[in-house]
């Protein structure tokens, strides 16, 4: 079989993309399409499943198999595809409202089961499609149409949530950094099992510049922490570092600590405590915030185990015999005269 040679255009559909001009979704779409084209895997082997919301229009614009389903349910639907078709690469597209509010339950259970799904959660910290209500990741005090006096809801930290839900792979990236996004997509694709990627995505209509601390030319220098496996966690041109104190990740001046005390990032660490501590450095993109892979550990996948059980049963019991099955509770026969023959 020859490896198909694709360009980004092969993963575009004839459908007009209907996000607002300037929406971060465009950049993410371009990153995903470019990544898929580079992979060179046959296009028909990809399935994109989404829920409801702006991000969930995504499958209409990717020329693979796809389903735009209902609000919050994409991880459940995708689990049915992945569990029965290990030959496919199954992706979930969701948002902060879809994945963390109405669909929170499905998301955490897909992660805990380690279903072989690549879950991209576009976090814009607002409801866009319903036009501007606060979301489960909006900051406390946010003034929106549904919270004119400021939101009193305490927000989720999606990376912390995923780590708490036993996710085997957790990463965070940023819409406008296509290179970083593509690197994360590749690392997630290689991971066997659920991969959860939070993508900070700017909604320029209802929540513009929410990520300015990580995107602004000035701000990002001081705030963007790039997690790199095997390397000390330093940022701000090396001026700042992260150390562990009393189990908490803490930002310090690099010059104030022994270089040996700086946390060295290990994404493969079986225990998620340090990854969780890193996720608590910032409860949103409001100050020094880590991007990159928080956790990447190997654990049996749900679909792998399900299909192994099926295979083992076939090997051990032989292929199912329907005649035997319906006689398995014991039978008796009645002969032509209608008499029970026992």
């Amino acid at each position: 079989m020859t490896i198909p040679s694709y360009t980004r255009a092969d993963f575009q559909t004839d459908q007009e993309v209907r996000w607002c001009p300037g929406c971060g979704d465009y950049t993410i779409l371009a990153s995903v399409q470019a990544f898929l084209a580079e992979l060179g895997r046959p296009r028909e082997e990809f399935v994109f499943i989404s829920g409801i919301g702006c991000s969930s229009r995504f499958p209409y614009y990717v020329n693979t198999y796809g389903m735009h389903s209902i609000h919050g349910r994409a991880p459940a639907i995708a689990s049915g595809v992945a569990a029965t078709r290990p030959d496919l690469s199954v992706w979930v597209i969701t948002g902060d409202g879809d994945g963390l509010s109405i669909g929170g339950n499905h998301l955490i259970h897909a992660l805990r089961r380690n279903v072989n799904l690549k879950i991209l959660l576009f976090n814009n910290q607002i409801y866009g499609l319903t036009k501007g209500q606060y979301s489960p990741t909006s900051e406390v005090g946010k003034s929106t149409k549904s919270s004119p006096f400021g939101s009193v809801d305490y927000p989720f930290n999606p990376v912390s949530l995923a780590l708490g839900a036993e996710a085997s792979y957790v990463a965070r990236t940023l819409d406008m950094d296509r290179k970083h996004t593509q690197a994360i997509l590749e690392s997630a694709y290689e991971h066997e099992g659920s991969a959860f990627i939070e993508i900070y995505q700017n909604c320029n209509v209802f929540n513009d510049k929410a990520f300015i601390q990580l995107t602004g030319k000035e701000e990002r220098v001081h705030n963007r922490i790039d997690l790199e496996h095997g390397k000390p966690v330093v940022f701000d041109g090396g001026a700042k570092a992260v150390v562990l104190r009393n189990g908490e990740a803490t930002v310090v001046d690099s010059s104030s600590v022994d270089p040996g005390a700086i946390l060295v990032h290990d994404e493969t660490r079986p225990d998620p405590s340090i990854a969780f501590a890193l996720s608590r450095l910032s409860h949103g993109p409001y100050g020094p915030t880590p991007l990159g892979v928080f956790r990447k550990v190997s654990r049996p996948t749900y679909d792998g185990e399900v299909n192994a059980q099926v295979q083992a049963a076939k090997d051990k019991q032989g292929l199912g015999d329907l005649e035997k099955l319906i006689k398995s509770h014991g039978t008796w026969t009645v002969d032509e005269s209608g008499v029970n023959g026992g």
Binding site: D14, R43, E44, G66, M67, S79, G80, T84, G320
Partner: protein, 623 residues
């Protein structure tokens, strides 16, 4: 020697041969009455009787011991002829404690046999059951043949050498009662002993205790000549064939496995545990060597969600639940309808609304099945009439789902699901294959794939599995263009698609067999039924005709679309009687569809119809 001869001959007590007998085992939910009833049933089935069962148990796992809410019972009718129900009034009642007696005595036929565990009738248990005086000591049981047995004491004595001790000793008393019943009704003992040995192979002391208690109960009957007569029910004369005893949930699960084999589609069952549907999951999860995959989801919505995903991926996808769970699935059923993917949605109905009566039968989800979705979303609906018939109905549901690319609702209920009856095994080779044709090639101009380009006969859209090159396409809940499947907000397109989807389902009527009328074509009254009332209705009609009356009956398997000849059939009778375990749901449909002034007989008491209830109504309407 003389004594031994006497004790080894059950026939030393005179035997009365009868055509049928109704037996009810009743006790505390910890007393093992369901197990005793099932063993009595299986022994009777293997003996060759026709039979039907009615288990009844509390929704609580273990209500407080000795109380009225904690009573669990199992009724079985065995007969030497073809019977259809578990019977109305028991001829024999086993009451393991005062609460069981209090709750069940009202049903025991006058002059019937009552077996009580005397040891359980202490002051405390009597008080819990609400007795002011011990009924064994006054005249309140004078109308029955009472056999008082010190079951606790005798069981303790019987199992003393088995190796079980402490609280486990009395656990065998259901086997003592079962042994006594085996003697009283001439049941063969081997099937039960064999079952015990197999079931408890890993717990030899438990097997020994149960066998000892069972034999002790049997021998107690012989030695004490516990009754003046024992009863015998000869094997039934049934059509020739091989039979097994099966309940509705099991037969339904097997039907799905059969449909998987006949269609070549791997079976996927995505579900969430709920009474009384969970046994379908339990059964299917055992059959992985048939390629069956089961997913116990985090909730009802994920159960159907995973099934929708599996359907999209090319599997025979099934989800199952009961009323409350189906309500949660409602939005997803509409999605599956919009996606036009094959999906079986099983609803094992129970008493509602809300948590209602989780362990009791009711047929109150018919209108919910027809109309319980947002938007215009008609679906094919089938209902199971009896435990064994669930096999065939499941296959039929799958056939419709894949042929027409539509979700199908398959209704069962608690009575069918847990009730059992002998099933004449079908010739599996005679069951036709279920044709499935996945799209493999582009069907549009310039090598494009048009996911909504329909089959001209069935109006089904093509089913293209992910992994098929060149057929990449997107589906979704938004309205789709009638041909390309692209999102469309065009007014005319929405009208066309709404009409097309409705027409597709309505057109299935041409694929639905005509409804058959049983009984007297020239009768005044036709009894029309659906679902689990089949047995009660047919038995009531048989009784009416045996006593010289005339009546006809017809039973619907297909509730949407209805059989094409139904209107004609209904019009050919003066009066239509529709018995239902709801407040008149099919009645409403029949009146609306055919403008016929049909009469309802309705009951929502958490129990099936008594045959006499329907019989009396037939008589009243025939006058």
């Amino acid at each position: 020697m003389a004594e031994e001869t006497a004790t080894s001959d059950p026939a030393s007590t005179p035997t009365e041969t009868t055509d049928k007998i109704v037996v009810r085992f009743a006790g505390d939910s910890g007393d093992g009455m369901q197990l005793a009833g099932t063993r009595f049933t299986d022994a009777s089935a293997l003996f060759g009787n026709d039979l039907a069962t009615l288990p009844s148990f509390p929704a609580e796992i273990r209500a407080p011991a000795g109380t009225l809410p904690g009573v669990s019972s199992f009724q079985v009718q065995i007969a030497d002829y073809d019977i259809l129900t578990a019977g109305d009034d028991p001829d024999c009642l086993v009451a393991m404690n005062p609460a069981a007696l209090q709750k069940n005595l009202k049903d025991l036929r006058q002059g019937g046999t009552l077996i009580v565990n005397k040891d359980a009738f202490d002051e405390r248990n009597l008080a819990k059951a609400g007795y002011e005086a011990n009924p064994l000591e006054d005249e309140s049981l004078a109308g029955f043949r009472v056999i008082e047995v010190p079951m606790d004491e005798l069981t303790k004595e019987a199992v003393k050498d088995s190796g079980v001790s402490g609280r486990n000793v009395l656990r065998s008393k259901n086997f003592f009662a079962l042994g006594l019943m085996a003697w009283l009704f001439h049941r063969p003992t081997e099937p039960t002993i064999e079952w015990v040995e197999k079931k408890f192979a890993k717990l030899p002391e438990v097997a020994a205790a149960n066998t000892a208690a069972y034999r002790a109960g049997y021998n107690f009957g012989i030695t004490t000549e516990a009754t003046k007569t024992t009863f015998e029910v000869k094997p039934a004369t049934l059509p020739p064939g091989t039979y097994t005893n099966v309940n509705g949930n099991t037969a339904l699960a097997w039907g799905l496995v059969a449909a998987s084999q006949k269609s070549g589609l791997p079976l996927f069952y995505g579900t969430y545990p709920i009474t009384p549907a969970s046994d379908i999951l339990h059964e299917l999860s055992r059959h992985k060597n048939f390629g069956v995959r089961t997913l116990q989801a985090e909730d009802e919505i994920a159960g159907i969600g995973s099934a929708i995903g599996a359907a999209f991926a090319g599997n025979l996808a099934v989800t199952g639940s009961s009323g409350p769970g189906i309500a949660l699935k409602s939005e997803s059923i509409s999605l599956a309808f919009m996606l036009e993917l094959p999906l079986i949605v099983i609803n094992v109905q129970r008493g509602g609304p809300s948590t209602g009566l989780p362990t009791k039968p009711e047929q109150s989800d018919l209108l919910f099945s027809l109309y319980g979705r947002h938007g215009e979303a008609p679906l094919p609906i089938l209902a199971v009439a009896s435990p064994s018939e669930a096999f065939e109905t499941a296959i039929e549901a799958v056939r419709i789902a894949v042929k027409y690319m539509t979700p199908v609702i398959l209704l069962s209920d608690n009575y069918v699901a847990n009730g059992s009856e002998p099933w004449k095994l079908p010739d599996l080779n005679a069951i036709p294959d279920i044709e499935v044709s996945f799209a493999e090639h582009p069907n549009g101009p310039n090598g494009t794939f048009l996911p909504y380009m329909r089959n001209v006969e069935t109006f089904a859209r093509p089913w293209a599995k992910p992994g098929t090159a060149g057929l990449e396409h997107r589906v979704g809940g938004l309205e789709k263009d009638a041909i390309t499947g692209n999102v469309s907000y065009d007014p005319n397109n929405h009208q066309l698609m709404t009409d097309t989807r409705a027409w597709k389902v309505a057109n299935i009527a041409n694929d639905v067999p005509d409804i058959e009328v049983s009984g007297d074509e020239d009768a005044k009254v036709l009894v029309l039924g659906w679902g689990s009332t089949f047995g009660s209705i047919r038995a009531a009609c048989n009784r009416t005709r045996r006593s010289g009356g005339k009546v006809a009956s017809a039973h619907l398997r297909h509730l949407n679309p209805l059989p094409n000849n139904l209107g004609e059939v209904l019009a050919s009778f003066d009066k239509i009687l529709i018995p239902e375990l709801n407040t008149g749901q099919l009645l409403k449909i029949i009146r609306a569809e055919f403008l016929i002034d049909a009469t309802g007989l309705n009951k929502v008491a958490g129990e099936p119809f008594r045959v006499t209830e329907i019989e009396d109504k037939i008589q009243e309407m025939s006058a």
